[in-house]
Point group: C2
Chain length 426, copies 2
Amino acid sequence: MKKLVIFALIFSSISVSAQQARKDFKADRNLSASNYVAYPTPEKALTPAPKGYHPFYISHYGRHGSRYLIGTRDYDRPYLTLLKADSLGKLTAKGKEVLRKVKLIKDEAASRDGELTLRGAEQHKGIAHRMITNFPEVFEGKTHVDAKSTVVIRCILSMENALQQLLIDNPKLQIRHDASYHDMYYMNMGDKHLDSLKRCKTANDALNAFKQKHDNYDRVMRLLFNDDNYWKNEIKAGQLNNSLFKLASNMQSTELRNKVDLYDLFNDDEIYDNWLKNNAFWYIAYGPSPLSGGIQPYSQRNLLSKIISEADSCIALKHPGATLRYGHDTMVMPLTCLLDLDGLGKQIDDLEQLDDQNWCDYKIFPMACNIQFVFYRKKFGDKDIIFKVLRNENEATLPIKTDIAPYYHWNDFKAYFIQKLKDYQP
Amino acid sequence: MKKLVIFALIFSSISVSAQQARKDFKADRNLSASNYVAYPTPEKALTPAPKGYHPFYISHYGRHGSRYLIGTRDYDRPYLTLLKADSLGKLTAKGKEVLRKVKLIKDEAASRDGELTLRGAEQHKGIAHRMITNFPEVFEGKTHVDAKSTVVIRCILSMENALQQLLIDNPKLQIRHDASYHDMYYMNMGDKHLDSLKRCKTANDALNAFKQKHDNYDRVMRLLFNDDNYWKNEIKAGQLNNSLFKLASNMQSTELRNKVDLYDLFNDDEIYDNWLKNNAFWYIAYGPSPLSGGIQPYSQRNLLSKIISEADSCIALKHPGATLRYGHDTMVMPLTCLLDLDGLGKQIDDLEQLDDQNWCDYKIFPMACNIQFVFYRKKFGDKDIIFKVLRNENEATLPIKTDIAPYYHWNDFKAYFIQKLKDYQP
């Protein structure tokens, strides 16, 4: 059994085939959780740098780690729906069991709306430790780490868990850390025009039709309720299904994960259908979907400009250290697409094709997902700067030519992306 | 001159006399800044513990470090008032100079509403470093630090600056850090009944009469404006004075402190009068003033209960480490009064008597002010637990008898304060 799982995981990472996600979920249901997936430790080996080059600077943007759900209604609504049904004698034995589980989950999350979990804290310690272990030259001696977070507490605590780990690994580090509205224009940019495109009629109609097609919860409702008329007419069954799937998805974030399982409510088809709907939503809202204008990834244009300009000013220094930034999935996903990392910037017209074309949200923005630019040079003062991009700590491709893959020439990158940002028309 | 200043400082710390604050401000104007005073490094030596006793646990509550002002109107209002006056030709040369200074201050604080400053970060590193240096046994080896902050970013970053310093001093520390609404019921308790007493007619009338008596800004207005009629009738001169005094007060928080001075606007009498009004406000709103019910310090009853219960559960452990909590002046001040540290819980009927009776806000809650309970025992398992309280890192007295001052017996403390909390009637 264990061998089978390992085989499936390896297979999923090297091959793209029809409905690959369905196979991935068979190996690990937790992967169907979209943005609630717990950060997977990277397993691929890193490619040594071309001869003579040494890493000297890292520029990073990462999402907070695993967290509780946002909005108490995520916990309260399914709980109250089941509680009421129970009081009316409408729950099956399974329904009563689910009610008990939901109460446990809700109580554990009380007053912790959206907060970082212990697992989330550990993810950031791990990422930071691997960063300093894999690139010790960047963090050597009394160098600087400039860390910034959005003003959201789970991001601040993610940053601080990373920084504590770095300090344990090198107590000499000179750390500046901040979480200020002053920096939100690039750390978490708002863009009303892009937001309006997300919600335009074309996008809404397509998403709603897709969702309707993949609604798949009758069997689950019959598992929970002893009265078809009740769940069909007295409650919002689709909403309850979504809530329960969301609770199931996020169990992996908390310390209850080995004690309470809600995935047992769903069969493989239902898990796949639930995920399909969420994946389509994310592709439209934050990906390069033509339905929402094909330009959503430009929401990260300020962030990309800042990454470029800060890198240039750090390249001018002998031992710049690292620039670390902590934010959200809603930045990492569009930035991934804007950079077209591993081809994820591609436009796909048919929402049914997302999985087949390997645009799968869980591979893009698990909790604590991150993008790291690692810069190399032969010696200080050289004009010849190369770098690679790590996407969730795995080497990623860029849409530019290179003779040293997975490394790229910084000047090629700048030429391409500064032009791309210039060409952007809202 | 230097000798005089040193003499004044020593004098202020050992003696209470008529209008001591006035003398303190002559030695250092920054002290008139009430809750904006930068944390003063403690200078008094600590008393060795009775023979055979060793420190084994610290319980702490501290305020965030120096910060920017809260509310952009603190910056915008005086700026716009002066700008408009300038456009009407109503400013003197000095008024124009002040306008330029206010613009500098306002620009430096842009988008940093209430945020921790660099100086604030340094204060917390210093406090943490002295804590682990003075009580190394508490933090020895692989022990635990449980740190909690209110959900306000300047408090979180204060906590994290302290924790980073502790980790530099002992990388083996096992740190839990959190900032959750889950803990706000004691970290920053709200109490509507007490709030209503703060604003009752008795309190309001007394405060307003006191403020009116000490309004003292005609000379400053004549310095700023070339037209008496203008400042008397076209602007709110009292409000402008207060704003400028607040800006002057908080200059010590930022990196502009050695470059821009606004205190030069005020003479000694004006500084004293401005402070008197602020001190009276704080005594009524958060101190034990009879005008606001004499019970305001009970706003910290949950915090005190938590300090007691957490201490008891930590005493049961062999090597508990430390419990660190990070919040606000509006907790540290009433907690100081509830504990009656150094007699600061005393009720004073006449607001004119506050200074003479040594109830001076700047000695209670500078930025980063803190209260530390340091626990000692001879060996693990002993029932005989003693402790001392450090108030801003200086040994403080409690309103209970002791044969080992400045140390106290923990059981005596509990007997007294658990009864005190029980007797509280809202």
